[in-house]
């Protein structure tokens, strides 16, 4: 009886401290393990992590926009544009100088990231300088970017990239760790440092927490907002490059689910939609969780249309649970 009560007490405490995510992860693990024998295997778990890297990168970028009190609905488009521009530039460079493989890969990657980051920069200018709401700005840019991507390719996939690009960045591995995971881990480390140990990181929280107070404290709020969207664009385009390598073609129709999934990953991880609150490590967990659910549903042969329903429902559930958490905080004794 008392043991039972202390257990509930601990569960409550964990709920308050850590949020809904650990509970959702645990439930998902149990459910999918029961539904499929292939789920809880080392190979599949590595698979989950690898598949989640693309979303993880985008979600971390999305977190910056959310921290400043906005969001970015154009991350999907950034992925697509990066893919198309990067692939075209790479294929073009490779065709022009078939011997310089590494150089053409580099040119392609830089071109792709530049294109995607440019979209982020335009978002940033709109939001910070012209005070356009992040919703309208990024929605508008989503359409602009998607239009450009389609216009550049006529809607057909871009072929002609050197084999080595896909082999290295899509399927390659170093010391047994797949390249996409390696890249993601490095970026997680860098961003963790930026968020927690640099002034810029602190300024993101300050601007989202109270933009007026931030201004009175001498922070360049416009620059901070601008950089949040630039970082978001950059992260989405790195994700776009890695995905392009995996697909071996430049595609204009990738990333459509990214805006929802990246925001979901952040919100499930406890990032406040009103800005100023959120932790990078939780966001990484949030993205992994979504990857885990998708993988589990695939193994359990749940239809892909239904999967979309589940992701949307999970997002709403997470927000509701977070409301309960806030109410608990008021009642729980420490």
């Amino acid at each position: 009886m008392t043991a039972n009560r202390t257990a509930t007490h601990w569960a409550q405490l964990a709920f308050v401290r850590l949020g809904v995510l650990p509970f959702l992860l645990m439930i998902a693990m149990i459910v999918f393990t029961l539904m499929s024998d292939n789920f809880l295997t080392g190979r599949n778990m590595l698979n989950v992590v690898r598949q989640s890297t693309y979303l993880t990168l985008v979600s971390m970028g999305q977190m910056f926009a959310l921290l400043t009190g906005g969001f970015d609905l154009s991350v999907g488009t950034i992925l697509a544009l990066t893919s198309v521009v990067g692939a075209s530039a790479m294929a073009g460079a490779y065709a022009a100088m078939p011997d310089a493989v590494a150089l053409s890969i580099l040119i392609g990657i830089l071109a792709g990231i530049a294109a995607g980051t440019a979209i982020g920069a335009v978002n940033g200018i709109g939001v910070s300088v012209f005070n356009v709401s992040p919703f309208m700005m990024s929605l508008g840019m989503a359409s602009v970017g998607f239009g450009i991507a389609l216009y550049l390719t006529g809607g057909v996939p871009v072929y002609g990239m050197p084999m080595q690009f896909g082999d290295t960045f899509g399927f390659g591995s170093l010391l047994g760790v797949p390249t996409p995971i390696l890249v993601t881990v490095i970026l997680i480390a860098i961003l963790y440092f930026v968020v927690n140990w640099t002034r810029l990181g602190r300024y993101f929280y300050a601007v989202g927490g109270n933009i007026k107070a931030a201004r009175l404290s001498g922070i360049n709020t416009k620059l901070t907002l601008f950089l949040a969207y630039v970082l978001c664009g950059a992260m989405a385009s790195i994700s776009g490059i890695l995905l392009t390598a995996r697909l071996d073609t430049g595609e204009a129709n990738i990333g459509a689910s990214m805006p929802l999934e990246s925001i979901a990953a952040c919100v499930i991880a406890g990032v406040s939609l009103r800005g100023g609150v959120g932790r990078l490590e939780s966001v990484v967990m949030g993205a992994l969780f979504i990857g885990l659910v998708q993988n589990g549903m695939n193994l359990a042969r749940i239809e892909s249309y239904l999967q979309t329903v589940v992701i949307g429902a999970l997002l709403i559930l997470a927000v509701v649970a977070d409301q309960f958490r806030l109410r608990y905080i008021a009642n729980l004794r420490d």
Binding site: W197, R199, A206, N210, A213, R215, L216, L332
Partner: protein, 512 residues
Amino acid sequence: MNSDVQDSGSPFVGDPPLLKLERITKRYPGVLALDQVDFDLRPGEVHVLFGENGAGKSTIISIIAGALRPDAGRIEFRGRQIALASVHHARSLGISAVFQEFSLVPQLTVEQNLFLGAEETSWGRLNKSALHENAAEILKRLGFPLRPTQRVEYLSRAEQQMVEIAKAFRSDLSVLILDEPTASLTHRETEQLFALIEQVKAQGVGIVYITHRMSEIRHIGDRITVLRDGRYVATVDSETAEDELVRLMTGRVIDQIFPHISYRPGEAMLEVENLTTEDGTVTGVSMNVRRGEIVGLAGLVGCGKSEVARACFGLIPVSGGRTLFNGEETTGLPPRQMLDRGFFYVPPDRRGEGLLMMRSVRENIALPALSLPDFSRGSVLRRHAESARTAALAERLNLQPLRVEREVDHFSGGNQQKVLLAKSLTRDVELFVFDEPTVGVDVGTRAAIYEFIRDLCESGAAILLISSDLPEILHLTNRVYVMCRGSLAAELSGEEISQESVLRHCFERKAA
């Protein structure tokens, strides 16, 4: 009339209490905010709740107003036990509250805010003209100079406070709760509010009133309940001497609130020449503030006293005149550059533009100084130095509880104010502008803040004190500028500074 009961001049004496709280307990994580507190309210009385910052005053009234549920204890309303489910429920019983922290919707107009949740409709259609008329009527009754169609986000803190107060008066009242309603009001609005309180008192409304200002207790209080650390201390009548009240509240004796200050005016730090702002709140103001002195800036709500300082700090666009800081022209420079030159502005509205409510005390205090070598090397933060410095500052200002990693939102109002003040100590500052620095601060802390201001002054800083609290202006400053409707009405110094002279100039313009 029942003669055993001590007569306090109220026609309702001897009536059963309107409201009765018994052994109310309320916990927050890690804090016992209320520990078995008793409280009762009779019809037609003003019952003052008195106590230090964090004593639990706001918590009690949140419970009475239905915004919080107690963990234990019972509440009786007109002799019947009730369980308040929400603010809405409390309102339906005629219990109406003005909270310390505002609950206005910034994007809506004054009138929309006044009737939010109680809009008059006919067949589901909003009756907009009735809304407008009722709003105008309430504002007129209260004598508040507000336009009903103005959007709340453009109002100053004092004006928002007026909207909050007007909101409480809108419906049929039986219990009126006012949590530091005059904290940013000036004399005139306060008088109007008190007149209204007298009116509703005569109708048998019971009023719970929270204030840190002694003069107000004297003025309108009937009974006073003193709380300390979440516990009930005593209920006394309003004749009780001031010292005794402070002793009950703090458990110790505070001999003097206002310190003695020796001013040594030096060279001018801030010079304002013929300043006019684009929005018309300030026209043709000239003044200066020198090192080693405390200059007061007084005036009614909306007279532009705050705006002068805000324009100098680069928060409001200037359309005419110029400002010089330390001899250098700085007209229109943004806050960032003013800060770097040693100008620090402490805003009046801690929640609105002072603090990041959901971030920790540490992050808040360090924010203005993150670019300094004390807090960062290049763009990398020195987190250990940051923790040490901010903890020391929090301790210096006597933050309670002294937990710098806690979110600011979880501190009581007065302690949030301390965090706001601590921010100004992180950098080298030559001119401090304190805009209503003691809003919602208890007597003991207030004395500490005044000493803090004195120390800054005596160590050679220039100080501009903008305040609606007249005693503060009278006791702390050696020079006072009085403003009226956007321009300067008078400059007083030394012996000329008195309640009469300041008030007189508040109301009339100097005959140019």
